[in-house]
């Protein structure tokens, strides 16, 4: 036992002394959560717009005022003439152009109807649709507020409720994915590189000739990263909760247990990668290109899985990250219990058993 | 005029003095042995002579050029080879020579002619298209040395050129050095193999950054009353030094 802890201490020293790796281990999760929490978001706000207002009357001015006061829009410029629209879009600063009909207020009051044209830059389709919806919503609100008293509002009124995330905060959808990716980065990638480095330096053979059992050696290499991963994982949870108010609605112990399971699965994957890597470079390339990249792209972290073609969805199912993201979302954001995630948990456990099994076999083959 | 001359050449790294007031003169055509234990300041001194490192104080004139003031001008007149690196492993013999020849400003004809001459002399012509990484260490060292001479420098600096090589290859390497010196090229070579000191015209022994001995091996042995260089070195370097057997 004492030998084991001796090795673990040595491993810790390696890691702590390498300042650049430390930067990556702690700086990166921090930077990323700051990024995702504050900067990177799909929510639309202060989008640049241009307005063509040949009417210049009370009503158009009021509507424009409402739009700009909403916080969703920012007036980039006024449009002098309709022919300019193309050039304005091409400059890239304007996402939507609103055109009032000439004589707007007059027509509205006299004929009861006036035209408002909305042109959106749909290079990013979602932004285009969202901006349009906001525009309609705000103008619609204006209309209802200015209807003559007593007018009945007809139509089917939907009462809309946003569940789990009433403020539609972008960070909600990113935090579970972020935890997953960071945990995987540390557990799988760093572990595989660390073990591969020993192989490359030849020190692995020295260790193997020592009285330590191979399993012990592997365990001692893996333990520091287990601890670091857990620290990072809980750190992100804490940051998410206290800085960004991402709630942990469900059972904290269940979440921790699942966290531990995922770290175990990732660690065993890291060990497996190292058994097929003769040196660090290969381990890095395999972890990066073979594990991290597919996980980031296909696990549901950034892009919704249901939008992917079937072939990619199948691949996605083979990624432990994909299942863990579901687990985290269900416990953290929905407050659900084990019953909702027993399937995913089973998958993760199965993965872990599989990875460990194959690693042991490969290791034994090498020794023989 | 001497090939290399330094006056109180000193280099400090913070509080640590790597080279302490080095004053010496190396004549043209000499084979000068720069001896000393690991960490005695040999490599730092050579770096300064090559214009790679600026001195903290003092001066050095190499091939008539003040290296502190004009480090770049020195480079065309000197050659350099270190144990740590010789040639690019993932390029062939010919490609390496073409690269270094070109970098030193030789035109294609010159590169071709001199490469062929060099390879013939070494007996390597058949391997000209082999990757360096496929060659044994001894061949690489000889090749690297020859490549350092491709541009016909006046002085060539060799930093531990025979490390890790078997005795026969070492002997062959020194024959190359003799041939080179015979053409008037000054050779400054560092080593911690004390027997190689016998091959040099003169040697100096560095201990903790200071030059503690200077002269031909015969003179020094007489001076200190010992009959081999190992014993000489042990005597001089004993206070606080460590040394290795050849």
């Amino acid at each position: 036992m004492k030998r084991y802890w001796g090795f673990v201490a040595k491993e810790f020293m390696h890691i702590l002394r390498d300042s650049r790796t430390m930067l990556v281990l702690f700086g990166m999760p921090l930077a990323q959560i700051m990024l995702f929490g504050y900067a990177v978001t799909n929510e639309v706000r202060e989008a640049g717009i241009a307005i063509y207002d040949p009417a210049q009357d009370d009503i158009t001015h009021e509507i424009t005022h409402e739009l700009l006061a909403s916080g969703y829009f920012r007036l980039e410029q006024m449009v002098a003439q309709p022919e300019d629209m193309e050039a304005i879009f091409r400059k890239g600063k304007v996402k939507e152009i609103i055109s009032y009909e000439s004589g707007f207020a007059e027509k509205l009051l006299k004929n009861g109807t006036a035209q408002l044209q909305v042109v959106t830059d749909a290079s990013d389709p979602n932004t285009g649709t969202t901006l349009r919806n906001y525009t309609f919503g705000i103008v619609g609100q204006y209309q209802r507020a200015h209807l003559p008293a007593g007018t009945k509002i007809g139509g089917i009124q939907p009462v809309v409720q946003m569940r789990y995330n009433p403020q539609l905060k972008g960070v909600f959808t990113f935090v579970p994915g972020l935890i997953t990716i960071i945990l995987m980065l540390i557990s799988a990638m760093m572990t595989s590189i660390s073990i591969a480095r020993e192989k490359e330096n030849g020190t692995m053979e020295v260790l193997l000739t020592s009285p330590m059992a191979p399993a012990q050696i592997i365990l001692s290499k893996v333990t520091p990263y287990l601890l670091l991963a857990l620290i990072d994982g809980f750190g992100i949870l804490a940051l998410g909760k206290w800085v960004f108010h991402v709630p942990i609605l469900g059972n904290f112990y269940l979440l921790s247990a699942e966290l531990g399971l995922f770290v175990l699965t990732s660690l065993s994957l890291g060990v497996l990668i190292s058994t097929v890597s003769p040196n660090q470079q290969v381990a890095l390339m395999l972890s990066l290109a073979g594990l991290m990249l597919p996980s980031i792209l296909l696990s549901g972290f950034l892009f919704p899985i249901e939008n992917m073609p079937v072939a990619l969805q199948v691949i996605s199912n083979a990624l432990p990250a994909r299942w863990f993201i579901v687990i985290v979302k269900n416990i953290m954001l929905k407050g659900l219990g084990f019953a909702s995630i027993w399937k995913e948990t089973l998958f993760l456990a199965g993965f872990a058993v599989f990875f460990i099994g194959v690693s042991i076999r490969r290791f034994n083959i090498r020794l023989e | 005029m001497s090939a290399i001359s330094s006056q109180s050449l000193t280099r400090k790294f913070g509080d640590f003095t790597a080279v302490d007031n080095l004053t010496l003169e190396v004549a043209k055509g000499e084979i000068f042995g720069f001896l000393g234990a690991n960490g005695s300041g040999k490599t730092t001194a050579i770096r300064m002579f090559c214009g790679l490192l600026a001195p903290t104080s003092g001066s050095a004139i190499v091939a008539g050029i003040d290296v502190a003031k004009q480090p770049d001008a020195v480079k065309t007149r000197i050659g350099y080879m270190s144990q740590r690196f010789s040639l690019y492993e993932d390029l062939t013999v010919k490609e390496n020579l073409a690269f270094y020849g070109g970098v030193y400003g030789l035109n294609r004809k010159e590169i071709k002619d001199r490469s062929n001459e060099l390879l013939d002399r070494l007996g390597f012509k058949a391997q000209e298209n082999t990757l360096i990484q496929s060659l044994p260490l001894g061949w690489r060292q000889k090749l690297a040395f020859s490549a350092a001479l491709l541009h016909r420098p006046e002085i060539v600096f060799l930093d531990e050129p025979t490390g890790g090589v078997d005795p026969i290859t070492r002997r062959q390497f020194w024959e190359l050095i003799y041939e080179t010196a015979a053409t008037g090229v000054t050779v400054l070579v560092t080593t911690h193999y004390m027997d190689e000191a016998e091959y040099c015209t003169r040697v100096s022994i560095m201990v903790n950054g200071r030059m503690e001995a200077l002269g031909s091996s015969r003179e020094l042995k007489q001076q200190y009353g010992v009959d081999n260089m190992d014993a000489l070195f042990f005597q001089i370097a004993r206070p606080g030094g460590t040394f290795t057997h050849a």
Binding site: V119, V159, M162, R163, F172 | L53
Partner: protein
């Protein structure tokens, strides 16, 4: 000049001799392009909607069936109770729950107005918001048709009428938006990653010292090292463009000269970053990690995944220091809008300034290291 040429020749020889490099440089990016373009789709188009019908009237059934044939929706066939629907949403089987209360039809007939309850899974705020708004649009359409059907004259005074159109991406295809960005990402990866590792490797192996003794000037060394990567990047862009245009029919409205010209400038900037990274790393591994770290931050702050307009002010200011942001701008503007040199003047100036500063820093720090 000749010296630079010699260095470039050596670099190319070394790059192509490295067996791992060739697949990395050419195959991996193409795979990524294909993979990413297929996966990268933020469009909300498979909205799973469950209708809890407490009214059971003809009208409620009609409204329910509206969602059946629509492209963006997937109407769940099972009749779920409110709690069943909630559970289903918890298990991600349902995105939107439309609850039609009892008395819906009666209210509609009597008052001409009725209420329904729309609950959206808003963990992904965009998805929830858009899903809800699509649902509302369907409901509105149903109401209007119902009005016409029942002979209720639509009053002439219908208020402000909207017309709308989408420019630049009439099919609202996410791939058109993503592919240019992916090209940018590939080029950036080459610029930062490969260049950082390359110089770090020379340092790790020790060839840097040998080169220092030769008459090679620093600027010759740097240009000679970087030129191959510029060439490789241009080749990659070409491959990427070919794939994007052939496979995904991404349009290319602008001038290729503008795009390639800007790419060269951009590469100089990004390679400078790679150089800077490698000059502060001792080993390849360190260089790799640093490059990875920086790249992730740069790419996320570049407008690739999420629009810059959506960022808070301080983040937006940060993006001005991010060269990747300019590349994303330019590549999308040139490809999708046909912008020319004049339109991207700002990006060009900013990138040029960045390139100047970064490369100057790299040269300075490189010199410091040696002396």
């Amino acid at each position: 000049m000749r010296t630079i040429f010699i260095i470039v020749v050596k670099e190319f020889r070394q790059i192509f001799r490295n067996k791992a490099m060739i697949p990395l440089i050419f195959a991996l990016p193409v795979v990524q392009l294909v993979l990413l373009a297929l996966a990268a789709d933020f469009e909300v188009k498979h909205v799973k909607i469950a209708v809890v019908d407490k009214d059971g009237s003809t009208e409620s059934a009609q409204l329910t069936n509206r969602f059946a044939g629509l492209e963006y929706f997937q109407l769940l066939p099972d009749r779920l109770s409110p709690s069943g629907a909630d559970l289903a949403m918890g298990l991600d089987q349902v995105d939107i729950i439309l609850e039609i209360p009892a008395g819906f039809a009666a209210d509609l007939v009597r008052e001409g107005a009725a209420q329904v309850l729309v609950t959206a899974n808003a963990i992904d705020g965009v998805k929830g918001g858009l899903g809800a708004s699509y649902t509302q649009a369907v409901i509105q359409q149903y109401y209007q048709d119902w009005q016409v059907q029942h002979g209720i004259v639509v009053p002439a005074a219908s208020g402000i009428s909207f017309t709308w159109s989408n420019w630049y991406n009439p099919r609202m295809d996410y791939k058109t938006y993503m592919v240019p960005g992916i090209l940018g990402m590939l080029v950036t990866m080459i610029g930062m990653f490969l260049s950082a590792m390359n110089v770090a490797r020379e340092r790790e192996v020790g060839t840097i010292e040998q080169l220092n003794v030769t008459p090679i000037k620093k600027y010759q060394f740097i240009i000679g090292k970087l030129l191959p990567f510029v060439v490789i990047a241009l080749v990659e862009i070409t491959i990427g463009l070919a794939v994007g245009m052939l496979l995904y029919k991404v349009p290319f409205v602008g001038s290729p000269v503008v795009l390639y010209g800007y790419t060269v400038l951009y590469m100089i900037a990004v390679l400078g970053i790679g150089l800077l990274i490698s000059s502060s790393s001792d080993t390849q591994q360190q260089a790799m990690f640093m490059a990875w770290f920086l790249m992730v931050i740069f790419i996320f702050l570049s407008g690739f995944f999420t629009a810059i307009e959506n960022m808070p002010n301080w983040a937006r200011i940060l993006t001005y220091f991010n060269p990747v942001r300019y590349f994303m701008d330019v590549v999308r503007m040139v490809m999708l809008k046909g912008s020319g040199w004049a339109d991207i003047a700002f990006q060009v100036k900013a990138t040029a300034l960045f390139a100047l500063v970064v490369n100057a820093l790299a040269v300075w720090s490189y010199q410091k290291r040696v002396g």
